[in-house]
């Protein structure tokens, strides 16, 4: 028999870490609303959300990150399981997961500043995808930490705007996510 403490730890209490939920859903209208609604009803804030096709055209994959320090997520994952259009949910362990995010940065940089900016790009393995006389647009891929570090570096140049996709995630090793 589990102790009360163990149950509470496994149950509705806050885990204190970021959770990456990888959810396979039927590719049908309204599914995203149903999922988002479950979080909204409990006042949970979704940090990032991405949706894309899978190798099976009948399904889509939603990757969603929530802060377990802010919200108890056990109850919401149980409720997600109850949605008829949800086929599979995994609460990915950050240690055993590869996550990536894509970001585009539009930075104010004229000729004099470009050299330094290009050096930063090289360190981050970022790619310049558009240049004008007064701006450079840069593509970066990586973990959320890396993208946030890059943002710190280019902000002093004059950050005109930034677009981020939110994380996608895949389980490490041979097994399916």
């Amino acid at each position: 028999m589990l102790s009360l403490e163990q149950l509470e730890a496994a149950g509705g209490l806050r885990t204190g870490r970021k959770h990456v939920l990888s959810i396979v859903v039927e590719n049908k209208p309204g599914v995203l609303t149903r999922i988002a609604g479950l979080f909204a009803r409990r006042g949970f804030n979704i940090d990032t959300l991405t949706v894309g096709p899978t190798d099976d055209e009948r399904t889509s994959r939603i990757t969603l990150t929530v802060d377990g320090a802010m919200h108890p997520i056990d109850q919401v994952t149980k409720q997600l399981h109850k949605l008829v259009n949800v086929l599979k949910i995994r609460d990915l362990d950050p240690e055993d997961t590869v996550t990536r995010e894509l970001a585009l940065f539009k930075v104010a940089a004229d000729g004099a500043q470009r050299g330094e900016l290009m050096q930063i790009c090289e360190i981050f393995r970022a790619k310049v995808v558009d240049v004008t006389r007064r701006s450079v647009t840069i593509e970066v891929t990586g973990t959320t930490d890396k993208i946030e570090a890059f943002e710190q570096m280019v902000r002093p140049f004059g950050l005109i705007e930034m677009m981020r996709t939110g994380e996608i995630a895949i389980a490490r090793g041979r097994g399916e996510t």
Partner: protein, 558 residues
């Protein structure tokens, strides 16, 4: 055949023998299909009446209730019954008309985004996108509504798609890969539960509406009698265990008996079956059953540890689990003597704190006595549908339900206006039973129009209005918790319910004398056709005992 004709074929294949509904523009094709379908349709007077009738039918029969409405206001009028069915896990299918596909999202006439509006209040919903999908969709809707933890399913059908010609072939299977409710309880957990029960010295069985949904009353009764356990039921679980009975503690919760609430408070083991630890049960959560470990049996995994952490969770169908739990428990040959002390303590509470009220000294009818008179006049042999308020609690306390599916009320949502249409649905589903609606002068007016439906269709329900001229429960709270500052609770003298009954084609009776009440009630029930009885009761009577909102069970008052 047209898609709507296929819908009728599907309904017949699902064994639907009655639909409660209301036609309009967007579901004209559906209503055209009714002409030749050979399915009974009860034309209600308001879609909410149809929705609650479907619920009453479902609760009384265990079958799926079906209600139809048109788009826009027809559909939004169903929102309350849909929410009600969600809260009380009632298997219902709601089929709504929708504007033509080319008008979707354009604010077309009588357009309402029914999928969007109902998303948080349905077990599942479907919107038709291609007419070929319709037959399968209908079968899937019924499958989802009745299986697992039952609940409401909405099917929204755009008008143009409903009249499209399709080749119809009977559907024999459903394809819902994401929906596989767990029904088989884990054997190891069941064994653990049996051991815990055998070791407990102060156990309580706490059963809810899930026992009734699962048709597990017989198995529950077996468990209780096998172990000699004290049993209490929630409001929605009444009838799940035959009352009165030596093991029966009465209902628990806010207006439950002291014996039931005190037993929960002092229990060392609580075995919850198809119950969800609602706030009306637990009172102050942090002080709820502080000494107890919990076995929690529920078909819905999301209920486990939602409000109260379960030590032994068992997910699955209550009947299946209880059958095996009884067998496991029996094998342990537990000593019944260990419960003697516990029963003595419980008997002490039962003797000291029976349900009680002060009867009037004259001929005035106390509302509690009115319920007792109903129980006596019927010998308890009736289906009772209740509205919401004080009368509902008195009915739950003083009418003893000895069988499941005899007590029909709006427990979770607390919907005033539920009683009459639910009674109507119950009578349609169980025509051979005496069906009584217990209501109040507030609640009845929220769906009184259905008296016309009853009269037109010969639906023989007997409505007893406990008339105190107040919104009694709100008045009680204002008296107890708001310094007696009455605000908007006096309902005055109107309408005259006897005349109202007459206008609707029902028989109206007014009762004011307690000395002849039982006989008068008997006569009203024996009167053919729908009858409305205006029972004038004490104006300011409070429902006791009571756990004040946010208080602990230990601190019951009254």
């Amino acid at each position: 055949m047209r898609a709507v004709d296929a819908v009728m074929e599907c309904l017949k294949a699902e064994g639907v023998d009655v639909v409660f509904g209301y036609p309009g523009g967007a579901n004209l094709p559906t209503y055209d299909a009714f002409v030749d379908a050979g399915i009974r349709h009860v034309l209600v007077r308001h879609e909410a009446g149809g929705g609650h009738a479907a619920e009453g039918y479902a609760k009384a029969t265990g079958k799926v209730g079906v209600a139809f409405g048109t788009s826009g206001p027809g559909a939004t009028n169903l929102v309350t019954p849909i929410t009600d069915a969600m809260m009380d896990s009632v298997p219902c299918v709601f089929i709504t008309g929708q504007v033509r596909t080319e008008l979707l999202g354009t604010d077309g006439f009588q357009e309402a985004d029914m999928m969007g509006i109902t998303m948080p209040i349905v077990k599942h919903s479907f919107m038709l996108q291609h007419p070929l999908e319709l037959p399968r969709m209908i079968h899937e809707a019924f499958h989802v509504a009745r299986s697992g933890r039952p609940g409401p399913v909405v099917v929204d059908i755009p008008q143009d798609l409903s009249r499209a010609e399709i080749p119809y072939q009977p559907v024999t299977d459903v394809h819902l890969p994401g929906y596989q409710p767990t029904t088989e309880g884990n054997q190891k957990q069941i064994r653990q539960a049996a051991k815990a029960l055998a070791a407990a010295r102060r156990p309580v069985i706490y059963a809810g509406g899930g026992v009734i949904s699962a048709d597990a009353s017989a198995q529950l009764t077996q468990l209780v009698r096998e172990g000699g356990f004290p049993i209490t039921c929630t409001l929605n679980g009444l009838g799940g265990y035959p009352a009165p009975d030596p093991h029966w503690l009465g209902m628990l919760g806010m207006h439950g008996t002291r014996a039931a609430n005190y037993a929960m408070d002092e229990a060392d083991l609580i075995c919850a079956i198809g119950a969800r630890f609602d706030d009306r049960i637990t009172g102050k959560l942090s002080e709820f059953a502080p000494r107890a470990k919990f076995i929690h049996i529920d078909i819905d995994p999301a209920e486990i540890s939602k409000n109260v952490p379960a030590h032994i969770p068992i997910v699955g169908d209550a009947r299946n689990i209880l059958e095996r739990l009884v067998a496991e428990y029996r094998a342990l040959e537990a000593d019944r003597g260990r419960l003697e002390e516990w029963w003595q303590r419980i008997r002490g509470w039962q003797e000291k704190y029976p349900l009680r009220y002060e009867d009037s000294e004259d001929s005035e009818i106390k509302p509690q006595y009115a319920i007792q008179a109903l129980y006596e006049a019927t010998g308890g042999d009736a289906i009772v549908a209740s509205d919401v308020g004080q009368h509902q609690m008195w009915a739950a306390q003083y009418f003893h339900f000895d069988r499941p599916r005899r007590w029909i009320n709006s427990g979770g949502l607390g919907t005033m206006g539920f009683g009459l249409p639910a009674a109507m649905g119950a009578k349609v589903g169980r025509p051979d039973e005496t069906v009584i609606c217990i209501s109040g002068d507030g609640s009845i007016q929220m769906n009184a129009q259905e008296l016309a439906t009853c009269a037109e269709n010969g639906i023989d329900v007997k409505v007893f209005i406990l008339n105190n001229g107040y919104l009694g429960m709100v008045r009680q709270w204002q008296e107890l918790f708001w310094d007696g500052r009455y605000s908007q609770v006096d309902m005055g003298r109107f309408p005259d319910f006897v005349k109202l009954a007459d206008a609707y084609g029902c028989t109206g009776v007014r009762l004011t004398d307690k000395t002849t009440l039982v006989q008068d009630v008997r006569e009203a029930i024996a009167t053919p056709g729908p009858v409305v009885v205006d029972v004038r009761v004490t104006r300011e009577e409070n429902t006791y005992p009571m756990i004040a909102p946010g208080a602990a069970a230990r601190d019951m008052v009254g």
